[in-house]
Every structure is written in structure tokens, then in C-alpha cells.
């Protein structure tokens, strides 16, 4: 901020817009929840929530949809962070959904729980009666997301209908829904991956260690590097090897790829992303590679 000219930097402008969104949701919904993945975007969401509501507590709980296939570093990090914040955490478990017969585990070497978590998420939203759920999605991530509103309306099946989006002029958000419906809210809609990292740097936020370069046993599949882990079977010909890698996104171990990197500090990560010629989802997410409209299709079903 330049106090002489009363001008905001673009990151300050984005921050102010996001805080405004948080407060609108708190004021207009009865039972909001903040969806937390442990990834960088959800860490920024938590800092923005602090800026929106401190010195009071958050007027909503935090919920993690736990696939059971997370990176252990991320779960440790989550628990430490929530304790520091002094806020309430709800864990919705995909394993519980499997045990209850709500979903069926995929089998084979390419099995993933990524798709199953939609059911766990929708069940948890119904169980707790949540009417709004904050998510960390950004419009720069993917083509379908580039079209999504800040307040993304979901019907009572949790579905997104791209043709029935509510117009969203100015910063006037329509929060009216019927019982059983809910709204996904994306305060980071206008942020890019680089903005997120620069904000993390400015704010001095701690992030899970897997975002920084480390040596890990990996194997290559479909041109991506995956961590050797108990939840994924190797296919003939796949040979594990040690590599210096880091993660650009944090998701399920079964579908999140690592990138070769020596970026060990925040400054180096920012430099690497600024120079990168590949999007984060294109480089690291197998779930978007299924079809041309993979994300649009999953969003229609109620995905994050």
C-alpha cells in the first residue's frame, strides 16, 4: 500500500476482494464450512479467513475430506496448523464411505480414490447441513473453472450446471438457496498460481514440506513421476528410482505427480513457477487427463 497515493498493489486488491467474499458468506449463510486440503491454496484461504474475522474466531468449521491416501507430511502439517489456529476441524473419511457401502473402491494399478471423494464430500455436506462450502479453486487452473462463478450454485444432488449459472455483476453475490441446495464459494477465483506463491511469501506462511525439493523414490507413468507408495501398484516395466522432486499441487498420492526440481526455498519456487511453461494441473494431475472435459464432467457431479 502506498499511503501517499492511496493505491493498492494488485495482490492487496485481490486480498481485499477475497476478504469481502468471506464476510458475505458468513453473513448470508447459516452453516458455512471451509474445505481444507492441506495444499497451498487452502493455506491462503485460512490466512484470508483470519484477516476477515480476527480477533474473533472463524464463524465456520474447517473440513478435510480425507481419502486415506494423503501424503503423511500433509496430515501432520494439517494437525499442527489447526491447533495453532485454535479452530474446529471436521474430517470426512473416504474409508468410512467405503466401509458403509456408499462407494466401491476402484481396483487395478490405476485405482484412485479421487473420484470417490465426491460422494464423501456430498454426504458430509448433507450430514452437517452445510449450505456454503469455501474451496480454494482458481479460474486459472483449468478451462471449466475459468467459467465458474465465485458463488457456484449446486442443486440438491450437488451438481453444477454451467448453463444455469447465476449472473454475478459487480460484487453483489446472490446467496439465496432452498433447503438441500448449497453453494461452493471460491474466494481465490481471480488468483493465479504465481499470486498464491507470492502471497505465501509476503505473509510468511508455512507450507507442507513436499512443496520444496526433496529426494524421493518415484516411478514414471504416462510421462509423470509418481511417489512410490502403498496405494498404487506398479505395472510391468515400471522401475522405481530416486529423484530430486517437489510437488506443485497437493492431492491424493495416487493421482498427483511430482516435478523434477531443485527449488528448496520459497524464492526458488516462485522463480521456477514464473519461468514454467506448463500449467500446474497439466503437469501434475492425472485426474484431468481422462477426457478433454474431465474437470467439467466431474464438477457436474459435485466435485470440488
Amino acid at each position: 500500500m502506498n499511503s501517499l497515493h492511496y493505491e493498492l498493489s494488485y495482490l492487496e486488491a485481490l486480498e481485499a476482494e477475497s476478504i469481502h467474499i468471506f464476510r458475505e458468506v458468513a453473513a448470508e449463510f447459516e452453516r458455512p464450512v471451509l474445505l481444507f486440503s492441506g495444499g497451498k491454496d487452502s493455506l491462503v484461504l485460512l490466512r484470508l479467513a483470519e484477516k476477515a474475522f480476527r480477533p474473533a474466531g472463524f464463524p465456520f468449521p474447517i473440513m478435510h475430506v480425507d481419502t486415506g491416501h494423503n501424503f503423511p507430511e500433509v496430515i501432520d502439517f494439517r494437525d499442527r496448523l489447526i491447533e495453532q489456529l485454535g479452530e474446529r476441524l471436521i474430517v470426512a473419511s473416504v474409508q468410512d464411505s467405503i466401509d458403509a457401502g456408499r462407494v466401491k473402491e476402484e481396483t487395478g494399478p490405476r485405482a484412485s480414490r479421487n473420484r470417490l471423494q465426491t460422494v464423501t464430500l456430498l454426504d458430509a455436506i448433507a450430514e452437517h447441513g452445510f449450505d456454503a462450502a469455501f474451496g480454494g479453486a482458481r479460474r486459472d487452473e483449468e478451462r471449466a473453472r475459468a467459467k465458474e462463478r465465485v458463488f457456484s450454485f449446486r442443486d440438491d444432488f450437488g451438481q453444477w450446471d454451467p448453463k444455469r449459472q447465476r449472473p454475478e455483476p459487480w460484487n453483489l453475490y446472490n446467496a439465496r438457496i432452498r433447503k438441500g441446495e448449497h453453494v461452493r464459494v471460491f474466494p481465490l477465483s481471480n488468483w493465479t498460481e504465481l499470486d498464491v506463491w507470492q502471497y505465501i511469501g509476503n505473509e510468511g506462511l508455512e507450507v507442507p514440506s513436499i512443496y520444496f525439493s526433496h529426494t524421493r523414490e518415484v516411478f514414471e507413468r504416462d510421462g509423470m513421476l509418481y511417489a512410490l507408495n502403498p496405494y498404487i501398484q506398479l505395472i510391468d516395466g515400471e522401475e522405481p528410482f530416486a529423484a530430486s522432486v517437489r510437488y506443485r499441487t497437493v492431492g491424493d498420492m495416487t493421482c498427483t505427480g511430482a516435478v523434477r526440481s531443485r527449488a528448496a526455498t520459497l524464492e526458488e519456487v516462485v522463480g521456477e513457477i514464473a519461468a514454467s511453461r506448463i500449467t500446474e494441473r497439466g503437469e501434475t494431475r492425472a485426474d484431468d487427463r481422462v477426457t478433454e472435459a474431465a474437470m467439467e464432467d466431474r464438477k457436474r457431479e459435485g466435485y470440488f
Binding site: 495482490l11 476478504i19 474473533a56 478451462r143 481471480n190 509476503n202 506448463i278 497439466g282 467439467e296
Partner: protein, 432 residues
């Protein structure tokens, strides 16, 4: 500072401004090509996105690199080859960060164009040099002026197809300048370009020596937007009251919101509307730290010197120059509902952080967006724009839209369907 640890002394970002751009047009104008060119020449297209465009162009048999595929994100859009909904694109240069709201140009998607244009600082309208000023060009210019986008840039595209002829360019400039004189446009800039070949987009064209102005990107980087903001009227709509329950902050009561206009400082005398009670600003804080001044568009928390009854929907203002606590509003409205707007119907009206009931008393006229004619009509249908009179169940604190886009705008919500059915801009307001 909870949550912070490893890197508390990281450098602040360079103060680089944010410019929000709205573009309107269809594939035919080369709008998507222009956006693709801006992103491509400023090196903001990622290789996996480009590979996708190459592969899809080949599969569809487009016969050229179809950069529209970069922005048309929905299955239906790619199938039909048109832009249906607003897509947002991001790029940055050394000087500025840009958000492009890429909006559909067809008349049947006017409501989506209004959504994308409502927050824009600058509008880019494309004209095909071969075809000259079209109905669509005039409509886009009208919507830009209706929404009071402060800066309009007309790109006369496909100059390569008219031999880079200055006379063609000048003819279009003259014609649109005449049209713009009938509209409310303060700042209009014309740039002759070829999006396909990159003339005057990022680099200055060597094919048009007769053009003395800057290329498009230079203009986007340098157009002055700081003075577009209103720093005089203090307008702070209260969004949320912060009252911590712990002992440490027992007496803390903060009014949280985003500054819509003016500069707020500790010690300033203010009035709280609609009650009209006067007090002083005791302190302004953000995230536990007191700050000296708050200005647009900061999100802050204001504490007042006296204990007043202040809640969401109230507005903190400067007492010398308050907005009108309006019960009757005349407004231009863009209709966004699939059911027509009819006289006598009730809707919810959301204005800043306040929602009241409203009844449509009168529909003065509909604007023919292509000719600017005023047409008498009994109802407004989807995508039509008209002037209406509203009566409200409780006052809302409004300024005219031309004075303040945040304090002068509202949406109408259908209470039965819960849909957002109208976007309104206040022309006149009265308290009776």
C-alpha cells in the same frame, strides 16, 4: 501471528496495479485471436494449453491454429464454436497485472456481457476493418457506456485485409466517434491492428507508419486508472460485526467491510446510516494491526468512538455529503431472468450489504441497444435493457451510478426461483 513461521521477512510484492479488462465480440471479429495473441506474445500461454489447442484444431479440421479454443472452456461452447459465458483470463507484465473478462458478443448473451463488464476499468471493442462499424460494435459501445467503464479501446482489426489502409481506419474512427458522442463515454482510443499477424498488439506495426499511437499492450499498461476512483465521498457499507467472545477482547466491537469510496482515518467524524447518528472513527484495523487510513477497495475493520447500534446493511459515511436514503429509485436495468419483468411484481433488491423488498412501479421504456431508441413496452424480457421505477420496503443508501459504481448498483432476485433476474444502475433516488 498464528500460522506464520518460516519466512516472516519475505519481501512485499512490487506495487503493480491491477487492470480489469472486458472484451466483447464473437469469433468472427478475431476477439479470441486477439486475446490469444496478447497471451502468446506476452508469453502467458502454457505449452500444455497450446498443445491442447493444436491437437483439437487438427482433430476438428479447423485448418488453422484456433486460439478461440483457449478461452472457450465449456463443452457446449467448443461444440458450437461460440462463447456463451464469461471466461476469465490472467496475464501480467512488468508494469501491471491484467484480468480479462472475455464476454460473449451475441445479443442473446447480453446478461453475461453485463456481468463481465460490470467491474471493468477498460473495455476492448473489436471492429472488423472490412465490415466497418456494425450493429454489434454499437451495442458493445453502448453497454460499455451504460456500465460506465471508464476507458474504451476500439481495436480496428484485420487491417492486413484492407492493405493497412489509413483511410479505412479513419472512416471507422469518424463513424464511431459520432456514435460515441451520443453515449456517455469520456475516454475513447482507436488502434489499428492485425491480431492474426500481431500488428500493434504487443509490438508496434511496421506496416502502418501513419499511425502515431502506441500498440494495444502499451496502452493497457499505461492508461491512467488511479484517478477513476472516488476518494471524496466516504462510503463504507458494514458487512459483518466482529465481536470476539474471549476475555482479552471483551470490549472489542469492529465493523467489517470493504471501502466503496473515500478515505477513512482514525479521528474522522462520521455518520451511520440509516439512523444518522454521528460519531468518530476510534481506530481502523486489519488482522489485528491498526492502520492509519483505509481507502478503496480495502477490506478493513472500523471501530467507532461511541457505542451505537450498528449492524450489517448500515453504512458509515461522511456526514457532510451522505448518500440518499432512498425509498423510490429510478434505474436502468438489464433483465437477466428467463421470465419477463412485469409491472407490479415484487422482487428482492440487494444493494451493497443490504437486502430489501422492491416492487416495480413503472417501466418507462426499453432501449433498443442497436439504435438507442426508447421503445414503450409492457414488459422487459431476457437481455433487454430499460428504465424502471422501483418502490422499496425499507431505505437503501444509494448514490447515482454515474457517481459511484458500487453504491449506485443493485441486483434483483426472484424470491420464488432464487435466480438473479436483474442488474440495476441508479439514475435518480428520493427518500419519500
Amino acid at each position: 501471528m498464528p500460522g506464520a513461521a518460516s519466512n516472516g521477512h519475505a519481501k512485499r510484492s512490487r506495487p503493480s496495479e491491477l487492470l480489469r479488462i472486458a472484451t466483447a465480440g464473437s469469433v468472427d471479429d478475431g476477439k479470441s485471436t486477439l486475446i490469444g495473441r496478447l497471451l502468446y506474445d506476452s508469453k502467458q500461454i502454457f505449452t500444455d494449453q497450446l498443445e491442447h489447442v493444436v491437437a483439437t484444431s487438427e482433430r476438428r479440421g479447423d485448418g488453422y491454429l484456433n486460439l478461440a479454443l483457449l478461452t472457450d472452456g465449456l463443452r457446449a461452447e467448443r461444440e458450437q464454436g461460440i462463447t456463451i459465458d464469461v471466461a476469465y483470463r490472467y496475464f501480467q507484465t512488468q508494469r501491471r497485472k491484467f484480468i480479462i473478462a472475455d464476454t460473449p458478443g451475441h445479443e442473446q448473451y447480453t446478461r453475461n456481457m453485463v456481468t463481465g463488464a460490470s467491474t471493468a476499468d477498460l473495455s476492448v471493442v473489436l471492429v472488423d476493418a472490412r465490415k466497418g462499424v456494425s450493429e454489434q460494435t454499437r451495442r458493445h459501445a453502448f453497454i460499455a457506456s451504460l456500465l460506465r467503464i471508464p476507458h474504451l479501446v476500439v481495436c480496428v482489426n484485420k487491417m492486413d485485409l484492407v492493405d493497412y489502409d489509413e483511410a479505412v481506419f479513419e472512416r471507422i474512427v469518424d463513424e464511431l466517434t459520432d456514435w460515441a458522442a451520443r453515449l456517455d463515454i469520456w475516454d475513447i482510443t482507436f488502434i489499428p491492428i492485425s491480431a492474426l499477424h500481431g500488428d500493434n498488439v504487443v509490438e508496434r506495426s511496421t506496416n502502418m507508419d501513419w499511425y502515431g499511437g502506441p500498440p494495444l499492450l502499451y496502452h493497457l499498461e499505461h492508461v491512467v486508472i488511479a484517478t477513476d476512483r472516488n476518494l471524496v465521498d466516504v462510503r463504507f457499507p458494514v458487512q459483518w460485526v466482529i465481536r470476539p467472545m474471549d476475555d482479552q477482547h471483551h470490549d472489542y466491537r469492529g465493523y467489517a467491510g470493504q471501502v466503496a469510496a473515500g478515505v477513512l482515518c482514525a479521528g474522522d467524524e462520521v455518520a451511520v446510516l440509516p439512523s444518522g447518528m454521528k460519531t468518530r472513527i476510534a481506530a481502523i484495523d486489519t488482522y489485528g494491526r491498526d492502520i492509519e487510513a483505509a481507502f478503496p477497495t480495502m477490506s478493513v475493520t472500523v471501530r467507532l468512538a461511541d457505542e451505537l447500534d450498528v449492524s450489517r446493511g448500515d453504512m458509515i459515511v461522511n456526514p457532510d455529503d451522505p448518500p440518499v436514503p432512498a425509498r423510490e429509485i429510478e434505474a436502468m436495468v438489464c433483465w437477466m431472468g428467463s421470465e419477463p419483468m412485469s409491472i407490479g411484481r415484487r422482487y428482492l433488491l440487494k444493494h451493497t450489504s443490504r437486502t430489501v423488498r422492491a416492487v416495480i412501479n413503472e417501466l418507462e421504456y426499453r432501449v433498443d441497444v442497436n439504435t438507442l431508441e426508447h421503445i414503450e413496452t409492457p414488459e422487459l424480457t431476457l437481455n433487454e435493457i430499460g428504465r424502471i421505477h422501483l418502490r422499496l420496503s425499507a431505505p437503501v443508501m444509494v448514490d447515482r451510478y454515474r457517481r459511484n459504481r458500487t453504491i449506485g448498483s443493485f441486483i434483483l432476485i426472484d424470491e420464488t426461483s432464487n435466480d438473479t433476474v436483474g442488474a440495476g444502475m441508479v439514475v435518480h433516488a428520493s427518500s419519500s
